[in-house]
């Protein structure tokens, strides 16, 4: 097994006296595809912001490639939640992706190479034809691809996505996961999702976040995880009926 690239040890974080995360420990290895699941408001986005260095843990340490999150931020490509972004902003698709070319701790000068790099990731996301369109003229799925392109434009080793499928229909989700699967061949992916139905077919490990983190080195969703991660397991399982969430038992013929 290769060395862990993300190490989270005994991390706690509280906000206005409320414990959001307590004593969280887990590690992530290279090329892993890890999904964070758990109920709303129970620390998934907070955990991501801690990994990005946007928030500081009260106690505990986070190491990314052996360095602090702030020092490692340039190796992480971040895809924030769609709802967090001002939708009426007059900005073209290309300009959004060019944000990913903002250089880490240096003056930003837009070069021809930057534009070429931005166009390259846009064409990988099959969005090159939309480069001059205004971002709010796109559909939710197209916008999500643009945000992934922006994250990829930073040339990251790790890609972190916060609920990328929230505004997508089923076809859009399947398409997006196929794209991520492809990206996962060369990059480590961390993903926050509510979307249990496609989990088992794409991710390599699952972590339930509900103040604590229960990490599973396997894409299997166990009863214990559901009990710990969700308050309402029935709804969750009903949600996944057309798809298989639980793996077949290993001891079956």
């Amino acid at each position: 097994m290769n060395e862990p690239i993300i190490e989270v040890e005994n991390v706690s974080f509280s906000y206005r006296g409320l414990n959001v995360l307590s004593d969280v420990s887990f590690s992530v290895r290279e090329k892993e595809f890890l999904a964070f699941i758990g109920p709303n408001g129970e620390g998934k986005t907070t955990l991501i912001k801690l990994l990005l260095g946007l928030l500081k843990p009260d106690t505990g340490t986070i190491r990314i490639y052996g360095a602090s999150p702030e020092k490692a931020a340039h190796r992480i490509g971040y895809v924030p939640q769609d709802v967090a972004i001002n939708k009426s902003f007059p900005i073209s698709v290309l300009d959004v992706v060019l944000m990913g070319r903002l250089r880490f701790r240096g003056r930003f000068r837009l070069t021809k190479a930057d534009r070429e790099a931005a166009r390259k990731v846009l064409s990988e996301m099959e969005m090159l034809g939309y480069q001059n369109r205004r971002i709010d003229d796109l559909s939710g799925g197209q916008r999500e691809r643009v945000f992934i392109a922006r994250a990829l434009a930073t040339d990251p080793d790790i890609l972190i996505l916060d609920e990328p499928t929230a505004s997508l229909d089923n076809a859009g989700r399947t398409e997006l996961y196929a794209i991520l699967k492809e990206i996962n061949k060369s990059k480590t992916i961390l993903l926050v999702t509510h979307d249990m139905m496609v989990l088992s077919s794409y991710v390599s490990s699952v972590a339930c976040v509900n103040q604590n983190v229960h990490y599973h080195d396997d894409a299997e969703i166990t009863e214990e995880m559901i009990q710990n991660g969700y308050h309402c397991p029935v709804e969750l399982i009903a949600h996944g009926i057309p798809h298989r969430i639980l793996k077949t038992h290993k001891d079956q013929p």
């Binding site: 990005l52 260095g53 946007l54 931020a73 340039h74 992480i76 971040y78 924030p80 967090a84 972004i85 001002n86 939708k87 009426s88 902003f89 007059p90 900005i91 073209s92 300009d95 959004v96 060019l98 944000m99 990913g100 903002l102 250089r103 880490f104 701790r105 240096g106 930003f108 837009l110 001059n132 369109r133 205004r134 709010d136 922006r150 930073t154």
Partner: protein, 275 residues
């Protein structure tokens, strides 16, 4: 209108309108996309405190107003960055306190009485040439800062979290740009008055936003709209002997409704873009 140009005051009014449009088109674009209109209003009103300070202590007008507004702007920025949810309340307090300080200090200043109406509506038809030079300098400063920081400001305005992850000094640039907003407001208030500053900062960029695919295009369009409103307003005010600042604002408002009507006819719906 043409024969009016033989008067120096009319030429100066046109220059003042031109530079005010340029500065407000660029700065107003940042104000509108960053939802800083209320903060802009707060700075503009707090500037009256600076007038009081300047006259009471006998320091030059421009030093008093600029200093007072910059301090108020920096305090407001710090609150916006630290406690965004309380920012509107805090700006409202500074807004009122600034004006109250100005009024009390002017009460206490013997023998001088600044006309509050000229602070509110300005006197674009009585602009001295020295103010034109101030505005020219400010236009150059605004455009140079915008050109230099364009990509950073675009990133901060669109997604400040992502920008800070990419190593953009988000807070520093916020202070810098709100400082620039404060300087612009103070200098333009002297020429066109407080109400017209707020109108020029908001109405032209708001119309331009709908038709722009980039921040740069929004700045250019907002500047053009502001210039058209200024020229038309001045011409109407001159012809019918009306208050120029208020006329320009009503022309701008009329322009806004025309743009709504055109959108309605073209697309069959009102398209105020929303979050």
């Amino acid at each position: 209108m043409i024969e009016a140009l033989q008067f120096e005051f009319m030429r100066n009014a046109l220059f003042a309108g031109f530079f005010a449009s340029l500065i407000c088109g660029v700065i107003g674009t940042f104000v509108v996309v960053n939802r800083l209109v209320f903060l802009g209003g707060g700075i503009a009103h707090a500037a009256y405190g600076g007038i009081g300070v300047a006259f009471f202590f006998g320091i030059p007008y421009i030093v008093g107003t600029l200093g007072f507004s910059l301090v108020a702007a920096m305090v407001m920025t710090a609150v916006v960055l630290k406690a965004k949810s309380r920012a509107d309340t805090f700006i409202g307090v500074l807004w009122a306190v600034g004006m109250a300080i100005g009024i009390i200090l002017l009460d206490l200043t013997p023998g001088y009485n600044v006309n509050l109406m000229s602070f509110l509506f300005g006197s674009i038809l009585a602009v001295p040439s020295s103010d034109i030079w101030w505005m020219l300098g400010l236009s150059i400063l605004t455009m140079a800062a915008t050109a230099y920081f364009y990509r950073d400001m675009l990133a901060i305005s669109y997604d400040h979290e992502f920008a800070s992850l990419r190593g953009v000094p988000v807070n520093l640039l916020y202070f810098l740009f709100i400082g620039l907003i404060a300087v612009s407001i103070v200098i333009i208030i002297r020429v066109v008055g407080l109400i017209l500053v707020i109108a020029l900062l908001t109405i032209p960029p708001f119309i331009a936003e709908k038709y722009s695919s980039s921040l740069l295009m929004m700045m250019v369009l907002a500047t053009l709209f502001a210039m058209i409103f200024n020229l038309t307003g001045l011409w109407i005010a001159y012809t019918f002997d009306l208050t120029s600042g208020a006329t320009i604002i009503l022309v701008a408002t009329f322009g806004f409704f025309i743009s709504m009507a055109v959108d309605f006819l073209l697309r069959g719906n009102f398209s105020i873009r929303q979050d």
